[in-house]
Amino acid sequence: MLNLPPESAALLDEPARAWLDAALLEAAHAARHTPPPHTATAPPAASPPVPAWELRFASAGRHCGSDLAAEAARILLLRTARTGAPGAARLYHRGTAAERRAVLLALPFLEIAPAHGLPLIQDALRTNDTRLLAAAVGPYAAAHLDAHAWRHAVLKCLFTGVPLDAVARLAHRARGDTELARMLEDYAAERTAAGRPVPADLHHALALTTAAKESS
């Protein structure tokens, strides 16, 4: 789950906390001074200067002391800046893997409509980077991904070794999903035919579908 101020503050030493305080002030300033909406469609011909808080967002890793603290700081910055759809897309598409993770994890808190947030989730689900996959199958995906895309996301987690613990509301969405059950069984059969072990998580997910069927 996300680290909000008390938790994230505990992760930071004194210089890092001072750095984050300054960064949050800049993000709060940005929240009060929304840039013109040209970024919503296409970037302008000449690039405007990068907002100060976005440079902080990019450099959080070397100021916060640990990957976990940097991730929490980045999420806080996104929330504090009240990042909208254009900003989230810009920071995601121009971001490192760590920055992209932060955008994906922050999506449920940014009041970004599925029409704008889902393309970022879908982009991450197309990668084979397990850090991005794990961040993509969080609460935003649970709330907004359609059934087909969500089932493929679960299967891709199994395929790439992302623990299904990362999948938000797995039990809720798997309940009674016979198509997911079929896909899991087929994947298990494919693994077995190849003489390869079936991931334990697959049995867990399958149980969530079948147990629901038995109880319904």
Binding site: A46, S47, P49, V50, E54, L55, A58, S59, A60, G61, R62, D67, A70, H93, R94, G95, T96, A97, A98, E99, R100, T127, N128, D129, T130, R131, L132, A134, F159, T160, G161, V162, P163, A166, A194, R196, P197, P199, A200, D201
Partner: protein
């Protein structure tokens, strides 16, 4: 033998290379942004490439126990193509990023006015972002290119002590050393330097501020050349400490000038078995 390859283009290499590099002692690499072997036609191609250097390639490297940083820039060759030069406007955003430990590769290819402009502009960007610079010396007309490079560096806001001059050889090492810059040597199967010449050069010029790289890419090259130089140094009577200085401590010291070098390996999410790369073909 612990090895830091300070210049290698891993996007062109296979997972088998990563395995072999780890087995040979490579624990850290820096991947400079460069030409792809064919021309790019828009800044968007650079952004996709930067994405690889900032995301996918570090992920791949981590699977094999190797930390991966990068240097970003508009390369000298494509500095001459007006379809590519707008990437300079986007570089400030990218140079702020944690895994970027230098501006590079910059420098000269054909020594054109457009290359002058790109080199000077990016040396200034390095100074503005607190980054050192990886400066490639040209393959053709190298000594003249080195002198012109040093002129531009001396006129820039970036001190020579924050510059790594790369692809040096016997004809350029003395002038490069006198500049105060760090000295990079690329060891190749047929071109650039080879192991025996590298050892002879180290005997003559010492180990201080000298870095050895494989510069392995999509061409005929060998990602294990760093190890082969280490072995050749030991055979020639250099000590383990000398080898460690050249193959580890010098590259660490140079890229640590960025304040961003993090040699702690962040493993990806815990995996049940194998990983997505090993299993990707299933």
């Amino acid at each position: 033998m612990r090895i830091f390859d300070p210049h290698i283009h891993m996007t062109s290499r296979t997972t088998g290379d990563y395995e072999a590099m780890y087995a040979a002692g490579v624990r850290a690499v820096v991947e400079p942004s460069f030409w792809l072997g064919q021309p790019r036609t828009s800044p968007a191609s650079f952004f996709d490439y930067f994405d690889s250097l900032l995301g996918w390639e570090p992920f791949r490297a981590a699977q094999y126990g190797i930390t991966h940083h990068c240097t970003l820039a508009l390369n000298p060759k494509e500095a001459n193509d007006p379809r590519c030069t707008p990437v300079l406007d986007e570089l400030p955003r990218y140079l702020a990023k944690d895994p970027v430990v230098a501006v590079g590769e910059i420098g000269y290819d054909s020594m054109t006015p457009a290359e002058d402009t790109a080199l000077a502009t990016q040396l200034q960007l390095a100074a503005d972002h607190g980054l050192p610079a990886l400066v490639h010396t040209p393959h053709r007309d190298k000594l003249t290119g080195l002198r012109r490079t040093l002129d531009v560096v001396r006129e820039s806001a970036l001190p020579c002590e924050r510059v790594l001059l790369d692809h040096l050889n016997e004809t350029t090492v003395a002038e490069a050393r006198n500049s105060g810059a760090w000295l990079g040597f690329s060891v190749y199967p047929d071109t650039k330097m080879d192991e025996a010449r590298m050892v002879a050069l180290l005997k003559q010029h010492g180990t201080e501020r000298i870095l050895v790289n494989s510069a392995a890419d999509w061409g005929k090259s060998d990602p294990l050349k760093t190890r082969k130089v280490g072995d050749a140094m030991l055979e020639a009577g250099f000590s383990d400490d000398d080898v460690d200085e050249v193959l580890w401590r010098n590259p660490v010291a140079f890229y640590a000038l960025s304040g961003r070098l993090d040699l702690h390996l962040t493993q990806p999410e815990p995996l049940h078995e194998g990983n997505s790369i090993l299993r990707g073909g299933e």
